[in-house]
């Protein structure tokens, strides 16, 4: 069984369902990417996995344990970490304090984890005393991911980590995400930039109107003429 298995998720915010029998899974140490057109329910699927949405049916299993009924906070304690698309740092707190807050639930020594984060994102070490709100967009995303890593999660979920940054910074961020995955984490990511995202993905999910349309390895999806035509712009 996969490390994360979210099976047959159906539900939405109000009475209208956004997700219909949607399934997403991630293997240990892999990068899985959800892509699809606007309004396909990509972010909703991510929120459903994190427990920010009430599911009418379906279940979420993490590392063999059913966590469908747990609150987001409790999922954090079980090893999930979530990086929202926007407002994902504490702007008036220093970079270091942002990381500390990420580790709020931990009672053990967090120094070594912080070192690991600084090793992954060297720029953050440089700016550790600066307020996160004063950083550039790309640096802020690094703070956001760093904050999430502070819980020592086994699954990191990123909601459009490259939204609103320049193409150069975007490439940098994708490289960093690969680096993070190499440390042994599983990553589930929603991306608007489908092409680059599938490039680094072990597994890709194409959602359309809240349903799974295509599911395969990133490479296969990239080469599938149907997918290319409809979702990757030729």
């Amino acid at each position: 069984m996969s490390f994360l298995m979210a099976q047959g998720m159906t539900g939405g915010y109000g009475s209208v369902d956004i997700l219909h029998d949607c399934t997403v899974s991630v293997e240990r140490g892999e990068i899985a990417v959800i892509v699809g057109p606007n309004g396909a329910g990509k972010s909703t699927a991510m929120k459903a996995v994190f427990g920010m949405l009430n599911l009418r049916s379906g279940r979420v299993v993490l590392d063999g344990q059913d966590i469908t009924r747990l609150s987001p906070q409790n999922r954090v304690a079980r090893g999930m970490a979530f990086v929202p698309q926007t407002n994902n740092v504490f702007p008036s707190m220093s970079v270091e304090e942002n990381l500390e807050m990420g580790a709020f639930l931990r009672r053990d020594d967090i120094q070594s984890t912080m070192e690991q984060v600084y090793a992954l994102f060297p720029i953050l070490r440089e700016k550790r005393q600066q307020n996160a709100g004063e950083l550039s967009g790309g640096q802020r995303q690094q703070v956001a991911v760093g904050r999430a890593l502070m819980t020592k999660p086994s699954l990191l979920m990123l909601d459009e980590p490259t939204a609103g940054v320049s193409p150069i910074v975007m490439d940098e961020l994708f490289d960093l995400i690969i680096d993070v995955a190499r440390t042994g984490l599983s990553i589930l990511m929603v991306e608007q930039n489908a092409r680059q995202a599938l490039n680094i993905a072990d597994k890709g999910y194409v959602l359309v109107q809240g349903r799974n349309r295509y599911t395969d390895t990133g490479q296969v999806l990239m080469n599938d003429p149907e997918v290319r035509k409809s979702f990757l712009g030729g």
Binding site: P72, Q73, V76, A77, F82, P84, N87, N88, V89, F90, P91, S92, M93, E97, E100, M101, G102, F104, L105, R147, T151
Partner: protein, 336 residues
């Protein structure tokens, strides 16, 4: 010589009182700004919370006095202060549990909190008047002065004296200690940082596992402590009258807004801006000009810009000016 006399005069009637008053306002405004940062509403009950905490302190002071308990030269009220803080904290926690928490779970509009706080304000006001009455209460004891005007004159040979009341000294020292403790708490402790995180980005704080109920409770306790300390210092320095504390709401809010709502450093600066403006504008400069003006000439009038009856107008005008020119306050606050 005349210049020194003028300076002494100004210190005695402007500098010293404004420092003390500014400290009291700063402490009050800190409470308002913290509540705003965490709970995101302007707490109209803050003036009356001050009155409540002070009232408890006064009651304990009287009790201690009747038992013959004294702090020597210091006012007995300092001994009673922790009890005032404790009761005030319990009071605001109960009011949060009974009133505000419901609106929090509803994610109600900020203006609903505002109205609810007005409701709490009236209940508190009624409670205070019910228990201690609407009249002036004097509860200061111990030494009256650090320096008496007469001693100052003898010491310096000036014809103008500077007197510093003990309560003024205590006020300024307490303010410095409290502010030091508060900033240490906010910047160095886990709980304090979690408060700042919650104020910065509520959703992300929740994602990080910060317990909102705990943050809110800590905020109320700190606000109650600040309110009680500010109220007691004000009461020692001047006197305690419930209605005066209600009226303090305006300068306190002006201070918090001038400093940028939600910004603790701004609140302190705002407190002093308001206090100094208020006292400088309402001070009669007649004798001051007499010293620095040409020989033996004193103006006919009092040379007072504004009668003290209108001291609230000063806070109000400063408030309007800030809103006109920099709506986010001189220091940026979290409010927009």
């Amino acid at each position: 010589m005349d210049l020194l006399n003028a300076l002494a005069l100004l210190s005695n009637y402007v500098l010293v009182p404004a420092l003390a008053y500014g400290s009291q306002l700063a402490l009050g405004a800190l409470g308002v700004t913290l509540i705003f940062g965490i709970l995101r509403f302007s707490n109209f009950a803050h003036g009356d919370t001050m009155a409540f905490g002070t009232m408890v302190t006064i009651l304990f002071t009287w009790w201690f006095q009747s038992m013959g308990l004294h702090l020597g030269p210091l006012p007995t009220a300092l001994l009673a202060l922790p009890f005032g803080i404790a009761f005030c904290a319990i009071f605001v926690l109960v009011s949060d549990r009974l009133v505000y928490r419901f609106f929090r779970t509803q994610r109600a509009d900020p203006v609903i909190y505002l109205i609810a706080s007005v409701g709490i304000m009236f209940i508190t006001n009624g409670l205070v008047r019910f228990i201690i009455g609407p009249d002036d209460q004097n509860f200061s004891d111990g030494e009256r002065f650090i320096i008496k005007a007469g001693d100052f004159k003898k010491l310096t040979g000036l014809s103008e004296g500077v007197s510093i009341k003990l309560t003024q000294g205590i006020t300024v020292i307490t303010m410095i200690v409290v502010i030091f403790l508060l900033f240490w708490f906010l910047n160095r402790t886990r709980a304090g940082k979690s408060m700042r995180a919650y104020s910065d980005n509520e959703d992300l704080a929740l994602l990080s596992g910060i317990n909102p109920d705990r943050v809110v409770a800590i905020t109320w306790i700190i606000a109650a402590a600040l309110a009680t300390i500010a109220g007691t210092l004000y009461g020692l320095d001047k006197s305690f009258k419930p209605f005066t504390y209600f009226q303090l709401l305006l300068p306190i809010f002006a201070a918090a807004i001038v400093g940028g709502l939600g910004n603790p450093l701004g609140a302190i600066a705002g407190g002093f801006v308001i206090a100094f403006s208020e006292i400088m504008v309402t001070y009669a400069y007649k004798r001051f000009i007499g010293y620095i003006g040409p020989n033996d000439w004193t103006p006919d009038g009092l040379v007072q810009l504004l009668s003290t009856d209108y001291k609230f107008a000063v806070s109000f005008v400063i408030l309007l000016l800030v809103l006109l020119v920099r709506p986010n306050g001189i220091f940026r606050g979290t409010g927009t």
